[in-house]
């Protein structure tokens, strides 16, 4: 069976969920071969094997952490040369998209970004994309070269599918440009203990209606009662009430959870672009005319300062 390269997104050896989802999708089009780079690359093997990686190619040179993007492109190019895969799949992070695009250019291939589904087709893998703020669904494929496709988080279920996961060292020669952009310092984001926004099954968001940083505890309490991640609209972020890393929308994170609860958010097109593919959408807003209500499965027209605490209490009571 044709092999499919899967680029592994990991933090010091801990594989992030979108990569495990990619292994599920990769099995639809071939046999997954994972490529793990950088510090802790070798530690990813067990999790990758558990989810279907037949082989794990690793290299942990310092260049991957010290310079931006290009060393990783060099490594994937080496992996493609070694494996001759039927496709290359990369998680749709901002960096993942840049790596994928540069790789495609070097291979003389096309690139598709932000796929939300993938299936085998007669002329190669067919990617589903959700475009124009999720108002259209398109199907496309790469027509030249080895398809390079990036896939959004939450596009497939994570399935256990134990495979060999044999670890092999990948031999990489870095290109002249590899050391062009130096990372002079790095500050890791502090963990809140809540689920990762893009990976969470439930996201609870607050907008301008929350009316102050101090009131975001209301949103956090609701999120915690559901084991959810916290999101924010750009208005709330621009006001300094919540960190930009929690912004949902076109220029923030794009989320696709099972449940999205928007509180005090009007539903501007740029916000919708980042949450419209959520399976169930709920909103609390005091303005019955707010555009967010066009999207909802359930909406409460009311003051969030009344509704949200009551909802949180009721959830806690029901959970016992």
């Amino acid at each position: 069976m044709a092999e499919v390269l899967v680029y592994v997104d990991h933090v010091d050896g801990a594989v992030r969920k979108p990569t495990l989802e990619l292994l599920t999708l990769a099995r639809r089009v071939g046999e997954p071969v994972a490529v793990a780079l950088g510090n802790g690359a070798g530690d990813t093997a067990a999790a990758l094997a558990e989810h279907g990686a037949a082989r794990v190619l690793t290299d942990d040179a310092a260049e991957y952490g010290d310079y931006l993007v290009v060393p990783k492109v060099d490594a994937l190019q080496a992996a493609v040369a070694a494996v001759s895969p039927a496709a290359v799949l990369v998680p749709s992070s901002t960096e993942g998209k840049e790596i994928a695009a540069r790789l495609a250019l070097r291979l003389g291939s096309g690139v598709i970004t932000d796929a939300v589904d993938l299936e085998a087709g007669e002329a190669g893998p067919v990617a589903t994309q959700s475009v124009f703020a999720a108002s259209y669904t398109t199907k496309s494929r790469v027509s030249k070269g080895t398809p390079v496709i990036t896939v959004k988080p939450n596009s497939a279920a994570v399935e256990a599918a134990p495979a060999a996961g044999s670890v092999e060292a990948l031999s990489v020669t870095f290109s002249d440009g590899a050391t062009g952009t130096k990372v002079t310092s790095r500050t890791a984001r502090e963990s809140t203990g809540r689920p990762e926004l893009t990976e969470a099954a439930i996201v609870v968001s607050g907008g301008r209606g929350v009316n102050g940083a101090e009131n975001f505890s209301l949103i956090e309490n609701l999120a915690d009662s559901l084991g959810a991640a916290v999101g924010a609209s750009r208005a709330a972020v621009d006001a300094g009430w919540y960190p930009h890393s929690n912004q949902v929308g076109q220029t923030g994170k794009s989320v696709s959870p099972q449940l999205y609860i928007a509180n005090g958010i009007s539903g501007a097109i740029q916000h919708r672009a980042g949450m419209q593919t959520s399976k169930t959408i709920v909103a609390v807003n005091k303005d019955a005319e707010a555009p967010i209500f066009d999207l909802v499965d359930y909406g409460v027209v009311g003051d969030l300062f009344e509704v949200v605490p009551q909802l949180t209490e009721e959830i806690k009571a029901r959970k016992g």
């Binding site: 998209k97 108002s135 952009t181 559901l226 009311g302």
Partner: protein
């Protein structure tokens, strides 16, 4: 020595309008107003600030697009850019990201540059890959997705806020930079700026000026094919209740019914 800055700006259909696909599955541009991609305003802003902080600098704005794309250039010129370049050719219709990066890289080379500044993503394709592709083609460093940027003594530095960490980056010019909407509000064109823009030079180039063959771009030359585009079915109308004291409890009941609790 003068710092030559080229800002790439895209002309896109207005996101607040009704965007469609045409029959050939490319973006329908006839039916909806176009404008300068809002995220490229941040690129123009940062380019202008870098120029203002340099001894001697020139800011050129570059767009690849149909006749109307001149509107995007005019907006950028009225913000304060010095001159414009419009690459227009019927054979460009349907160009994908790989092809667009070819045209931009050739045009940037022809224009002459020390620094290319781009937006983080267009507001239509939203791929966020063109700056990286242009850097790859030019063989210069990419310093992309910056929320802060500055240029001094031929070195560009910036901050990139990623998923798991915030990074400080550094590269020597020439380089390709892209900036996010966290980089700082874009200025509004002044009346004087709008009037001045009318007199600023805009060059028009076609594919032959750039030494690009028609087969390398357009739908024919694309490395990707869109097989279908379907409008998302309208969501079925949801239940909307007015809070009369029990709104939170009613919502909890809905969540329980859907097994979220």
């Amino acid at each position: 020595m003068s710092l030559r800055i080229v800002v790439t700006v895209k002309y896109v259909p207005d996101a607040t309008g009704d965007r469609h696909f045409a029959e050939d599955l490319t973006v329908d541009r006839d039916d909806v107003d176009g404008l300068l991609s809002e995220l490229d305003e941040y690129a123009v802003e940062q380019a202008l600030q870098i120029a203002e902080n340099a001894d001697d600098a020139e800011v050129t704005v570059l767009t690849v697009g149909p006749e109307d794309a001149k509107d995007a250039l005019r907006k950028a010129l009225s913000m304060g850019a010095d001159k414009g370049i419009h690459v227009e050719d019927d054979d460009l219709h349907g160009t994908d990201a790989i092809g667009t990066s070819l045209v931009l890289a050739k045009a940037v080379e022809k224009a002459g540059y020390d620094l290319v500044v781009s937006g983080m993503a267009s507001t239509d394709g939203t791929m966020g890959v063109v700056p990286a592709l242009v850097a790859e083609r030019l063989g210069v460093p990419q310093v992309t997705l910056l929320s802060e940027v500055s240029v001094e003594d031929g070195v560009v530095t910036g901050r990139r806020d990623g998923d798991t960490a915030s990074e400080q980056l550094q590269a020597s010019l020439p380089a390709v930079v892209s900036v996010t909407d966290q980089s700082g509000e874009a200025r509004y064109p002044s009346f004087k700026g709008i009037m001045a823009a009318k007199k600023k030079p805009v060059e028009s180039w076609d594919l032959s000026d750039l030494g690009i063959e028609a087969e390398e771009v357009g739908l024919e030359g694309a490395y990707t094919v869109v097989e279908s585009a379907a409008e998302r079915p309208a969501r079925t109308a949801g239940t909307i209740v007015k809070d009369e004291g029990e709104g939170g409890k009613q919502l909890a009941a809905f969540l329980a019914e859907r097994k979220f609790i």
